[in-house]
Structure formats: structure tokens, C-alpha cells
């Protein structure tokens, strides 16, 4: 095993732990809707939500880093350059996350001054971490970029996947620099904030996970490089072709010119296309190999990734993206439904797939299968789909009663939130949230348990 793959395992461990923290604060955030006086004035909803969404970003990022550190030496046939720096930065990263968590849990907020933004809370969704920590993430990403580029140079070898990955590092780093400003004008602030959020989540991360999935497909299903690279370019073309101006669907209501209604509506309507391409790709590859795989859980999670990305990000996004609908659906639990499904489908399933790839190599089995992973797979998917449906029901009630009829005032918000459709949606979300977390527990158990060994003579790829 390469040294960078050992680092990868550390990243995976940290990621799975933070996945648990995210789940914990997800459950707590859901509980506030049912018991609003819970921890009132002690630990309020906003801090729980910050813990939930910030750990989401960090654990996925750690999962991506782990996946790249895992595959980089295999792809280039040599150890990753500058490993000592990468290992040092991992521990600094973990320490910084721990310090920020302690500050969020016990200090929470400060006065209206620059000190608060630098050391306590920046108060911008997804990038609430204080500036010093955001600077730390820039350092982590710089070291990561150095590892990737320097290894390519030393190896004197570049594959198509590596080209895409290296070029993707530029926007991955550049748009994150937008995590720092505190622009007074909210319209301008949100204009650039969406470059960070949309360009990371709907463009740069999509390309990154596309690279990771390409590597996993070659590894798990045995797809040829030529096919994988052709599909990767198609995905990049469609993701960036639709996604760059699809950014416009965030510019409908923030003070921006009216033409964004047309531009954003048109291009975001195209955004499901690349995700549909990924589904076709996955089915094509799996079918061309007779659904045979030597890593059943990874194969299933890749398939879930393809379908989840298309339905969660593509269909659920399209459902609310046209301005005529978005005027009423925007900023309701409908958005939350889409957000959960999209993050899960696009990224969570993919990261879980790479965890199983690592498990197979670490445990040294030729064929990875079993029973527990199926329970984890079923509970996580069932829990997520249940949450998504429950939130959609609540969100539609809000869009109708609060936005369309009530006119979005305080009283409209209150009465929509008291609507039986909304309230039953919140209870259902809580129930399915518990189902999801039980799936997480099984997943962790399965990842930590040694797989059953199949005698070498019988170790044939199994039908998925």
C-alpha cells in the first residue's frame, strides 16, 4: 500500500466520523421544529444548523481528498510527491475543525465587529467558519493541489482523468477565496456567494466526483479507459455548459437584472442532462460487463450515485427551478428537500463507494460482498427518500399557503408552519431521519468489520 493511501484511510476515518456529527446535528435541527423551546437561548437552531451543514461540507471534502490520495499513485504509478506535507496538513485540518466546532458549541457568536468574523463566526451560510479557519482550508487545498501537480510532473505522465482533475483544482481553489468578504451590500454579497456555493457544488465538485467515479468504474467494473475518459469529457462539457450559466437560477430575486430570469431558467432546465448522462454511463458500463463486479457494495453505491444525482440534483432541481415556480417555492422546505436529495445523490453515495473500494483492498479479499452492507444501503436510501418526500410535502404546503396565498409575511409564515401538511411533514422527516441514522450505524459497523473470506479458488466476480 502506498503511503498516500494510508493518508487516504485517515481522511476516510475523519470523514466518516464527521458524517456522524452531521447526522447528530441533523436530528437535533429536525427536533427544533417539533419542540421549539428545546435548548432555547442555550443552543439555538441556527448553531445546530451551522454544525449540520458545515460538517456536511467538510466530511465530503475529506472524502474527496481521501479518494484522490487513494487513486493518485495507482493512476500515475508512483508515490505522491510531498507526502510529509500532506500528512502534516491532515492533522492541522483535523485540529482546526475541532477548534471551530468547540467555538461554535460554546462561544457561538460575538459582537458586530471584525473580531467576530475572524475568530468566532462569519455568518454566511456554508462558510460560517471564522476567517482563520477558512484560510486554513485554503492552505489544505494548496497543499493538495501541490501534491497532485508535483506528482504528475515527477511521474512524467498525464492521463485524461488527471488533466481534468488538475484543471478542476483551479476553480476549486479560486472560488473558495470568496469565503472571506463581508460586503455590506447584500445583493453584491449574495452575487459572489453564489459563485462559491454554486460553482463549488454544482460545477467544481461535480467534475471532481466525475473524476473519482471514472477511477472507481475502471477499478470496480473494469471499464476501459477510453470509454471512461470519453464519458468524463461529455460530463464536463454538459455540467459546465449548462451549470456555468445555470448559476442564473440563483439570480432571480437578489436584486439582479430581469434577464437572469430567462438565462437562469433556460440553462438550469438543461442541468439535468449531464446527470442523465451519468446514469446512461453507469448502466452502459455495468451492462457491458454483465453486471459482474468484484466489489458489490461499491458497485451498488456507484449506481445509487448515478440515479441519486440525476433524480436528486437533476429532477428535484428542475422541479423548482423555473422562475414562475421558484417565485413561490424558493426559500421553503421544498428547497431543503432538493438540497438533501442532491447532496446525497451527487456526493454522499459516491464517497461511500470509495470507502468500500478501500475496504476491499485493506482487507485483502478478492470479492467483497456480505449482508450488513445491504442493510446499510437499504436504510440509508429509504431514510433519505422518506426525508425528501416529507420535506417536499411540507415545502409545497409552505409554497402554497405562505407564499402564493399568504404573501410571505410573518403571519403567513406562521400559519403555513401550523398547517397540518407542514406539521405532519416535519414529524415524518424526523422518523425517516432516525431511519437514515440507523443506516449510518450499520454502514460504520460494516466498514469496521472484517469481510468474510472467499477461498481464492472460488473468488469469481459476482453478479450485482
Amino acid at each position: 500500500m502506498y503511503r498516500s493511501q494510508k493518508l487516504s484511510l485517515r481522511y476516510y476515518t475523519a470523514a466518516i466520523a464527521l458524517f456522524g456529527v452531521m447526522n447528530l446535528f441533523g436530528l437535533l435541527s429536525a427536533l427544533y421544529y417539533l419542540y421549539p423551546s428545546l435548548l432555547f437561548n442555550v443552543f439555538n437552531f441556527n448553531m445546530s444548523k451551522i454544525m449540520h451543514i458545515d460538517t456536511l461540507v467538510i466530511w465530503l471534502l475529506m472524502g474527496f481528498l481521501g479518494a484522490v490520495y487513494w487513486y493518485l499513485p495507482k493512476e500515475l504509478g508512483r508515490e505522491v510527491e510531498g507526502m510529509w506535507l500532506a500528512e502534516l496538513v491532515f492533522w492541522v485540518f483535523c485540529a482546526a475543525v475541532a477548534v471551530v466546532a468547540v467555538v461554535f458549541l460554546f462561544v457561538q457568536y460575538g459582537g458586530a465587529n471584525q473580531f467576530s468574523l475572524w475568530f468566532i463566526n462569519q455568518g454566511r451560510k456554508y462558510v460560517e467558519a471564522p476567517r482563520w479557519a477558512a484560510l486554513g482550508i485554503v492552505v489544505v487545498m494548496l497543499v493538495f493541489a501541490y501534491n497532485v501537480v508535483a506528482t504528475c510532473i515527477k511521474a512524467r505522465r498525464m492521463t485524461g482523468i488527471m488533466w481534468v482533475l488538475v484543471l478542476d483544482l483551479i476553480p476549486l481553489l479560486a472560488v473558495y477565496l470568496d469565503a472571506f468578504p463581508a460586503t455590506t451590500n447584500m445583493s453584491v454579497d449574495l452575487y459572489w456567494w453564489w459563485w462559491l456555493v454554486h460553482m463549488w457544488v454544482e460545477s467544481t465538485w461535480e467534475v471532481l466526483i466525475g473524476c473519482v467515479m471514472a477511477l472507481v468504474l475502471m477499478d470496480v467494473v473494469g471499464t476501459s479507459r477510453r470509454i471512461v475518459e470519453a464519458w468524463l469529457y461529455i460530463e464536463v462539457m454538459l455540467v459546465l455548459g449548462a451549470g456555468i450559466l445555470g448559476l442564473g437560477h440563483h439570480y432571480f430575486w437578489i436584486g439582479t437584472p430581469q434577464y437572469w430570469l430567462s438565462v437562469g431558467g433556460f440553462f438550469s432546465a438543461l442541468e439535468p442532462l449531464p446527470l442523465l448522462g451519468m446514469v446512461v454511463h453507469a448502466i452502459y458500463d455495468a451492462g457491458s460487463h454483465g453486471m459482474k463486479t468484484n466489489n458489490q457494495p461499491a458497485f451498488y453505491w456507484i449506481t445509487a450515485e448515478a440515479f441519486g444525482n440525476f433524480i436528486g440534483a437533476g429532477i428535484w432541481g428542475f422541479m423548482m427551478t423555473l422562475p414562475q415556480i421558484n417565485l413561490f417555492s424558493h426559500g421553503t422546505q421544498w428547497t431543503v428537500s432538493h438540497g438533501h436529495f442532491a447532496f446525497y445523490g451527487a456526493y454522499v453515495c459516491g464517497v461511500i463507494a470509495v470507502l468500500y473500494v478501500a475496504k476491499q483492498q485493506v482487507s485483502g479479499v478478492d470479492v467483497l460482498t456480505g449482508r450488513a452492507w445491504k442493510w446499510g444501503f437499504g436504510l440509508l436510501n429509504f431514510g433519505m427518500i422518506g426525508m425528501v418526500m416529507a420535506l417536499l410535502m411540507a415545502g409545497m404546503a409552505q409554497a402554497f399557503f405562505e407564499r402564493a396565498i399568504g404573501g410571505s409575511t410573518l403571519m403567513a409564515f406562521t400559519s403555513a408552519s401550523e398547517n397540518p401538511w407542514f406539521k405532519s411533514g416535519m414529524y415524518a422527516r424526523m422518523f425517516f431521519g432516525v431511519v437514515f441514522v440507523s443506516g449510518y450505524v450499520v454502514l460504520v459497523y460494516d466498514l469496521l468489520t472484517a469481510p468474510k473470506r472467499v477461498p481464492a479458488a472460488q473468488a469469481q466476480p459476482v453478479a450485482a
Binding site: 427544533y32 421549539p36 432555547f40 437561548n41 439555538n44 437552531f45 441556527n46 444548523k49 451551522i50 457568536y109 460575538g110 459582537g111 458586530a112 471584525q114 467576530s116 468574523l117 468566532i120 455568518g123 454566511r124 451560510k125 460560517e128 463581508a182 455590506t184 447584500m186 445583493s187 453584491v188 449574495l190 452575487y191 477510453r226 470519453a230 468524463l232 469529457y233 464536463v236 462539457m237 459546465l240 455548459g241 456555468i244 450559466l245 442564473g248 432571480f252 430575486w253 437578489i254 436584486g255 439582479t256 437584472p257 430581469q258 437572469w260 417565485l327 426559500g331 431543503v336 402564493a404 396565498i405 404573501g407 410571505s408 409575511t409 410573518l410 403571519m411 409564515f413 406562521t414 408552519s417
Partner: protein, 198 residues
């Protein structure tokens, strides 16, 4: 043309990305012109010296902000520099207290508490909080509420006390008033009695 040839799709990916980035750059330059303070859609900060309404405009088929005659905030007109200082402080309150992890502004943020885009115009200030706080004006009721929200709950989901000083609360009220004057292409629709489609 071999569509299974990766280099064919590589050329497509590079050219598509470049074209889209160039278009985005032009649209962003134009958008900055419109949304800068004093631009077509975003008024100057000293708009807080005026009455602000939100009325349905048939020509645009959407509700739009209407800037009326003098109505200084807290009864005292401010200069442009004073208004700017108030806004800087108000925005810092919104960030330092993580307001947008419960509320939304322009529909962006979190969904536990009401949208604040037109909060200044919300009829609840006159109907609920002015009588509740015993204050004679909307802005004074807002300041009192923001400083002690837990004393004036209207519902089971109440706002926590985030320890705002009086200056911070006044700056936040000023920020919310300015925010309500931004043209948001009709979002939120039908807001309150004044924004309703006839």
C-alpha cells in the same frame, strides 16, 4: 468523426466551458452595474430617509418597491456617510449573529424563521409588536423586539435573545429598511396588503 474518441469530447468540453465563462463574465459586469449601491435596482443607503412601499406594477406584472416622500428613520434624517456607517454595522450584526441560519434574505439562508426581504413592511409590526412593546413607532418597536425578542413571543417558535446592543439593533432596523427598497423582480409575491395584486 469518432464519437468514442475522447479527444473529440475533450475539444467540446474545453470550447463549451470557455464560451460559457466569457458570457458569464459579460453578464456579471453588467449585473454589478445594476446591483451596486445607487444602481438601477439597489438604492443608495440614504433611502432610509424616505417612505418605502411595495406595490403591484402592471407593466412588469410584479410587485416593486416604491420610494415615497420624506420619512426619516427614528425621526432624524441621516447623511449618506451616516447611512453607510449604519449599513456596515447592520450587515455585521446579520453576519456575527448568523441571522441567515434561521432566516432568509431574498429567500437565501435557512428556513426556520420568516424571510426578511420585506420585513420592514410587515404589517405585524403595527398589528402585533407596537401594541405589545408599547412603542409609538414601527422602528422603536423593532429595536425593542430585537434587543429582547424572548420577551415578546408571538408563537411557539420564538426568536432567541442574541444580546444586541441598542446601537446594533438600530443599525439592523436601518439595514432592513434599506433592504426593503431593493427591486427583487417581484419576490416575495403578494407581500402584505400593499404588495397584493388588485
Amino acid at each position: 468523426m469518432d464519437i468514442e474518441d475522447p479527444s473529440f469530447w475533450r475539444a467540446g468540453a474545453i470550447s463549451t466551458t470557455l464560451v460559457m465563462l466569457i458570457v458569464l463574465a459579460f453578464l456579471s459586469i453588467d449585473s454589478m452595474r445594476v446591483i451596486s449601491v445607487g444602481g438601477a435596482n439597489v438604492p443608495k443607503y440614504d433611502v432610509i430617509n424616505h417612505r418605502i412601499g411595495y406595490e403591484f406594477d402592471w407593466s412588469r406584472n410584479a410587485s416593486v418597491p416604491v420610494i415615497g416622500g420624506p420619512e426619516p428613520l427614528f425621526g432624524k434624517a441621516v447623511t449618506e456617510a451616516e447611512a453607510t456607517a449604519l449599513m456596515e454595522s447592520g450587515k455585521l450584526v446579520i453576519q456575527s449573529r448568523a441571522c441567515m441560519d434561521c432566516h432568509t434574505i431574498f429567500g437565501n439562508g435557512a428556513y426556520y424563521a420568516p424571510d426578511l426581504t420585506k420585513a420592514w413592511l410587515d404589517p405585524a409590526w403595527q398589528q402585533i409588536w407596537m401594541p405589545m412593546t408599547g412603542k409609538a413607532t414601527r422602528e422603536d418597536a423593532m429595536v425593542e423586539f430585537l434587543m429582547h425578542p424572548d420577551k415578546y413571543p408571538t408563537w411557539t417558535r420564538a426568536m432567541p435573545n442574541l444580546q444586541l446592543t441598542e446601537d446594533e439593533a438600530r443599525a439592523t432596523v436601518a439595514y432592513l429598511k434599506w433592504l426593503s427598497a431593493i427591486d427583487t423582480n417581484g419576490f416575495p409575491a403578494n407581500f402584505g396588503p400593499s404588495g397584493q395584486q388588485p
